[in-house]
């Protein structure tokens, strides 16, 4: 019996962009289990990011339910969501979203300082292969390095789940592979349930399961029998 981390029931999300109404999710259902690596695959505008944001407690649903283990996130208030993110979730974003005025190590410290049982920031950076660049500012790092700092930041608090929104979207393929390799290793070594959003189907090869989204709906869920390490990817 697999341990369920997330359970999503009939999730819909409508938001306003300027004066335009966007239907981002139209009744999605799925489950995500402990220790697995899931890839959410779909074209842009398919609702991947919205789903991820709601899973991560960054956004609220219009209707439907989302459970993290026994906790219902969709009825949780601002305070509970903050507590949930602080304790359980690590995020990695497409544009890294580092704080430009802080060094690599300080960017990680920002998270470890508010966590209960974090790694040392330097250790987290070593895990992503940046042990030598602790004192570099984001502007002094390449895109791949910045993304690895972001990953270090996300895993430093030992989260239960790691949510990655297009982590390689802004990177060239070679750098992207390095980043994916780091994510793969974290998943295996730390057993962190990892959800990766991408529109790049090659990446799906590293997942335990691949969930396809289109137009706000889950169209297909595929079990991946033979996982490939990212180092074998080319795109």
């Amino acid at each position: 019996m697999k341990e369920t981390v997330f359970k999503v029931v009939n999730l819909t999300k409508i938001y306003l962009m300027g004066e335009v109404e966007v239907h981002a999710l139209r009744g999605a259902n799925l489950e995500i289990y402990a220790k697995e690596l899931v890839v959410l695959l779909g074209p842009s505008g398919s609702g991947k990011s919205t789903l991820l944001n709601i899973l991560g407690g960054l956004d609220t649903a219009t209707s439907g339910q989302v459970y993290y283990r026994k906790t219902e996130l969709t009825t949780a208030g601002e305070r509970e969501l903050t507590e949930y993110r602080r304790a359980h979730v690590g995020f990695v974003f497409q544009f890294y979203n580092l704080i430009p005025s802080l060094t690599a190590e300080e960017n990680v410290s920002v998270v470890t300082e508010i966590s209960e049982n974090p790694m040392k920031p330097a250790d987290a950076l070593k895990l992503v292969g940046l042990g030598e660049r602790l004192d570099h500012f984001p502007a002094q790092l390449s895109g791949g390095e910045q993304q690895r700092v972001a990953i270090a930041r996300a895993i430093a608090k030992n989260p239960a789940v790691l949510l990655c929104d297009e982590p390689t979207g802004a990177l060239d393929s070679e750098t992207g592979i390095v980043v994916l390799d780091v994510l793969d290793r974290i998943n295996r070594e730390l057993g962190t349930a990892t959800v990766i959003i991408t529109h790049n189907s090659d990446i799906a090869g590293m997942a335990n399961r691949v969930i396809h989204l289109n137009n706000g709906m889950i169209t297909e869920v595929i079990e991946n029998k033979n996982k490939k390490p990212p180092s074998e990817f080319r795109w």
Binding site: F93, S101, V110
Partner: protein, 787 residues
Amino acid sequence: MYSLDKKILRDIRHMKGQVLAITLVIVSGMAAYIMFISTIDSLSITRDSFYRDQKFADVFVSLKRAPESLKAKIRKIPGVSVVETRVCGYAKIDIDNFDEPVTARIVSLPEDGRPLLNRPHIRNGSLLDPNKDNEVLINETFAIAHGFKVGDHFSAIINGRKKEFIIKGIALSPEFVLLMRPDATSPDFKRYGVLWMNRSALAKSYNMDGAFNDVILSLSHDAKPNEVLENLDNILSEYGGLGAYLRKDQISHRLLSGEFKQLKRSSEIFPTIFIFVAAFLLNIVMSRTIAMQREQIAILKAFGYTNAAIGFHFAKLVVLITAPGLILGVAAGIWLGHVLGDIYTAVYRFPRLIFTLYPHVVIEALMISVASALAGTFHSLQKAAREAPAQAMRPEPPAQYRISLLEKTIARHLLSQPTRIIIRNIGRRPIRTTLAIIGIAVACATMIASGFFKDSVDFIINVQFVRSQKEDIRITFVEPTSYRALYEMKRLEGVRHAEAFRRVPVRFIHAQRSYRTAIDGIEEDNRLYRLLDENLKDVFIPSTGIVLNDYLSKLLRINVGDLVTVEFLEGSKEIREVPVVATAKLFLGVMGYMDLTALNRLMREGNAISGINLLTDSLYTRQLYRNLVDMPRVAGVVIRRNDIRNFYDIQARGMLFFTFIATLMACAIAFGVVYNSARIAFSERRWELSSLRVIGYTRGEISYILLGELGMITVIAIPVGFLVGYWLCAYIAHALASDLFRVPLYIEMKTYAVAAAVVLASASVSGLIVRRRVDTLDLVEVLKTRE
């Protein structure tokens, strides 16, 4: 140190220009506040301790002559604690190489040299020898003005007899903190002084052996002051008492209180302006900073930072931005407080200024400033905290613009594309635009207020000394004199024209209100003593009835046509009802005016006069001065030219200082507002401006879009500033009005022009600084970064 705290320091370094501009404004406001408050506290502590140490009296009264035995009766008045009787008078001083008439108030000292009340504080030298009748103490300003030292000699004419005196000491007195001749409009340290003499010697000169003509009292804590006055007046009425009055009406004390009031108002008005401007600047800077850090905030929230933690983070940033300004402001305020204190103590004489700055004043000021700074940024903080993290990470939707009203009304094609951008941008953020306009307008208004002081002083001089009082010399007699004195005066060489006047101390009473001042009786067809109305037109004094100045009529709540009760405090002590026939405009003092003959008739006296106004021939002035000094009946001589100069001298130092400070502050505000607005506009529209550069716009055109908006705001703000400045001056004039003087609401065109010029110059300087950034825009770099 927490990582986020490092971020704060680096954020501050990143926006150092804006922090500097805000710092300037905060320094100005804080310095002004500390300066005013510390000066008020220092002066009042200094004053109170001086009053206490020298036993300053509570009640004062002059009289004609009473036997010393009356003292016991006065002491029995309920509420009276200490009684000091004195002999006082006026002396004319003869100083080598100084032709102009010099007058001094002479005050007797008891034989032990230590009066129970109003003790002189000996600055230099020693007390008088009780056995010598030729020793005097002189007041310090008089000594300084003439370079007198202990041991110097001069001669004085007391009651018609000339005598040589030796200066035994130089003294200060709580009675003469500010020394001003009763009939003058400003202090004249060179031509008016105070002499203290042994009572026996002075009594001999005035034939006052065993008698007195001046009493001062101190009151017990449970005394009822008005009852004491009434009792005292009753006792002294048969001895020619001139009406007792309380400390609050004592001239030196009143002038000092007036000064306190002025400082108090200034301490309220100016720092308030700065707090408002600083809060506004912080608001625009912080809202921009927060907008730019929208995603960073979202990230922090994504990782579990609470809203409160993020709010606290930015609050710390605000506090740190304001901190240097506050610290420098306190330091500058302490320094300016000393400077202002020195300016005051040059005129208001104390043994030493006890500089006082209460810690609670600083703490309160800091708290108010920080609270208003946080209030100014609260909205942006709230907005940042409220946004769902996912929402914050999405790029902001394109700003909503619309076609402006201006474009709809004027043919749109007449406006160039850049001009349209400017107009729409102004219209898109109406609140920010309005606040920026108000901010710049306030800078302009501050400048106008600083110029207003000079304008109003000039105006007072013009009205009071040029249009109203046209005499060259005003002579006052020792006591009311026969009208024949006028003919004698007319015969003197150098006198071209002479007019007599009578001044009688009175108490005006109307309903529940009363006011103690004097009535001037003026000759029927006088040329030298004009009364003017609101529009500076002559007011004629009819042969019956009384003219009051407008401030007095307001004090008494009396209208033209009403009857006012006049209680004469001199001579017959008649109480009469007189119809008020007109009001006259007067900026200095509070007076009533009557026809000379009518006044004497009302008092049931003959043709008495108390002084003469003269027009003189400048060729003969030296001889004339000498003649006047030698005339025993002449008590005082005021030369109008000197009166004007003194008025300016006394005002000038304070005014120059104030104008300088106000100009600096106005520049700080104008620079702060314009620079920050420009800097923010630049950062918000960096992407847009670079895009325009990429498609071929020149730097000049880009600058036009960026700075044209600010130029337009500045141009709109200046007339608004004129209006705000006018209101501010009207408020100041209203707030400072007292029975000593009223500030006319009169602002020269030049003042408006200077204010506009200073604002434009500050705006241009800050515009140019930002323009340099436009010139160095890195097009590729900017277009690559996502914002």
